[in-house]
Homo-oligomer: 265 residues x 2
């Protein structure tokens, strides 16, 4: 892709990241690996169209590209269907409620609703985190093709905290448990202070379309208190997406498993 | 722009709209005005990169473009700062809470939180509505450069309902009132059943960065009940954006104006 003009246009867009959302023309040219004159021409056309905006000599992603991106069915479309149920879940927990989808070997966060007093989380709407270390990631990975599971488990598996599970054998057992119970309960995987309860959201063809989680303070939390609310919300979103009835719930029943066991407590 | 390769790439992206979010290659080629072979090549490269996704022979905007779009400071960035206060406003109203920015002669909706029992609104995240007919639009227009105001008032001014204000003279009076009171109160402009209370959100340089509104049922609503909450939320978001103190509130005070007069009741 890199050699064609289309590839160069995409290279200019990819130069912008969450860490570097505003760039000078020189920075764009360097990050995209393009001669300054080429970068200048492409940036000019992108700015005229509204894909980029220029403010005080620096460029940033423009509102028009945000609008086009908002048409992605797996972006705002899915989020729109899920939003009322995410709101409900937020109301009863007042912590962090998150919705994520699988992309490559990452969980991409479509939505995060956080209370002002909620435990701090590092996720960002439009951001990515690895599958092995997050509740939503484990749910997505548990239902992913075996080939993807093997690729992820083959590593590298980043250690965020002393509690982060990085052992492929242990992760394999956790994934089986997630499939069996229909819920992932993890604590201290990304930050020691946070505990996550996550469940799968099913789409029209019965595929796992997304994963939903609440992230709450690990200290003094009994995850069992959150499991029914998370599973009920995931069911409701699955229904809104048109999932066949048999896919709306995993095999596990609310009473048939013990989140404390999943945490290794 | 249309003649260059960059222009063709943007033309392919612009072929997708909210009404037509999924397209065949033939449809893309027709809507972008490109020969089928050219469209085929560009679509292939966009799909390989993730800007488009192919599902069952049709193309749609891909998650990677959504991610890049999410970097737009006027898109999710602004939304992220505003979200906790939009949540607060939603909690106390349980209706529709909306955040919009000015783009060209439209209001572009960055966020909408709607209760399940809320009055129906036609807005959509990433969607546009004209400035003269919406509460957020009147706020944005009231603080826009005179040149833009004249351009909008020169029309065409679409009539959505018998109540939609389409008279330039009347709209000029309303805009002055919005500037004076710091709030726009409109009813039945887009749909007869809905009433909107909107206020400006100020940015770092004291500019109007966005507008915030609640949309509630027109029937039996006293808009005065919503004005303080909307203005307080707009102030809080302005503070979060780093607005200078003197810009956080317009001249009007809560007690100094009468929303009923703005409605012409």
């Amino acid at each position: 892709v890199g050699e064609s003009v289309t590839g160069r246009v995409l290279g200019v867009l990819a130069a912008f990241t969450a860490d570097r959302p505003e760039l000078t023309l020189t920075e764009i040219s360097r990050r995209a690996g393009l001669p300054l004159t080429t970068a200048h021409r492409i940036v000019g056309e992108l700015t005229a169209w509204g894909a980029l905006e220029r403010v005080a000599g620096r460029y940033r992603i423009g509102l028009r590209l945000w609008e086009v991106g908002a048409l992605a069915p797996r972006g705002l479309g899915l989020r729109e269907s899920a939003m009322p149920f995410l709101e409900d879940l937020y109301e009863v927990t007042r912590q962090n409620v998150q919705l994520a989808v699988l992309d490559g070997t990452d969980a991409v966060y479509l939505e995060r609703i956080s209370g002002r007093g909620a435990v701090n989380v590092i996720t960002r709407v439009g951001g990515r985190l690895p599958l092995h270390a997050t509740g939503v990631g484990l749910v997505l990975l548990a239902h992913a093709p075996a080939e993807l599971q093997e690729r992820v488990l083959a590593g590298p598996l980043r250690r965020y905290t002393p509690k982060t599970r990085c052992d492929p054998g242990e992760l394999r057992r956790v994934l089986a448990e997630v499939r069996r119970t229909g819920v992932a309960v993890t604590d201290g995987q990304i930050e020691l202070v946070a505990l996550s309860v996550a469940a799968p959201v099913f789409g029209q063809r019965g595929e796992v379309a997304a994963a939903l989680s609440v992230v709450v303070p690990a200290e003094g939390t009994d995850p069992r208190a959150y499991v029914p609310a998370v599973r009920a919300a995931a069911r409701a979103i699955s229904r809104a997406l048109g999932a066949p009835e048999r896919f709306r719930s995993s095999e596990g029943r609310l009473t048939s498993h013990d989140p404390a066991r999943m945490l290794g407590r």
